[in-house]
Amino acid sequence: MDLALFWIPAAVALASTLLVITRKNAAHALIYLVVSLLSVAVIFFVLGAPFAAALEVVIYAGAIVVLFLFVVMMLNLGNTSVMRESRWLRPGMWVGPAILVSILLITMVYVIVGLPNANVTTGEMVGPKAVGNELFRPYLLAVELAGFLLLAALIGAYHLGRRYLEQRREP
């Protein structure tokens, strides 16, 4: 019975992800992506990681998807792009990648199922306090590095985006 708590959001996540990669309209796909991310957040919660679940909602489903949305709006992907998508997405396109992916799936399932011992999660909550204690003590260096990374990304994104805007303004 308890497993249903896990499997329901899992099923939602899988289904919505499948829809993400098959949609022709970018905005629709984004909505499904949000659904997928939210259901993963639920799974996190179920697995006893409430802080991660919150972050998933705030940053993934919030910030990142919004970023996507902005870009989609800036590029003004309308009906033409939907039609172009349907031209690009012929059914035949799916065959090769699907075969590859199913082979991968089989091997992964084989590997995962074949894991030794019965591995079950503890079922305990690991709250933000525990995470924070760990994060700012042994993992402090990783935090710093992540900061660097974000700073670099900030500068890079600014640089790339600014040139785009300037060049658009010119004509």
């Binding site: 308890d2 497993l3 896990f6 996540a13 899988l14 992800t17 993400v20 990669i21 984004l30 997928s36 993963v40 799974i43 996190f44 179920v46 697995l47 006893g48 990681a49 991660a52 993934y60 990142i64 970023l67 996507f68 870009v71 792009s81 997405l89 799916w94 590859l100 992916v101 991968l104 799936l105 992964m108 399932v109 995962i112 199922v113 019965a118 591995n119 079950v120 999660t121 503890t122 079922g123 305990e124 690991v126 525990a130 995470v131 204690n133 760990e134 994060l135 993992y139 990783a142 992540a146 990374l149 974000l150 670099a152 990304a153 890079g156 994104a157 640089h159 790339l160 985006g161 785009y164």
Partner: protein, 103 residues
């Protein structure tokens, strides 16, 4: 609130998400979709970490997830900047158009 879940199940779901994302990367030509698929894949990796953390009841999994999150944020920021540049330069979002690195 938390429940005991076999790690294999979580990992299977993570693998499923990962492969769906991969499928998207392989199939879609539109860069926007490609990036979304990438997000899915990273997210699935995060899921696997969380599962591992939950197995031991340790916070390390969540910390790894946060690092992935930072990575994803950075990646998206830069990648979307690139998308803007590509759409301007090639006048399309077709990722195959940007193939100047061919040998």
């Amino acid at each position: 609130m938390a429940i005991e879940v076999p790690v294999e199940h979580v990992l299977l779901v993570a693998a499923g998400l990962f492969l769906l994302g991969l499928l998207g990367v392989l199939v879609r030509r539109n860069i926007i979709f490609l990036l979304m698929s990438l997000e899915v894949m990273m997210n699935s990796a995060g899921l696997a970490f969380i599962a591992a953390g939950a197995k031991w009841g340790a916070p390390d999994g969540q910390i790894m997830f946060m690092l992935i999150l930072a990575l994803a944020a950075a990646e998206v920021a830069v990648a979307l900047g690139l998308v803007l540049q590509i759409s301007r330069r090639f006048d399309t979002l077709d990722v195959d158009a940007a193939s100047e690195l061919n040998g």
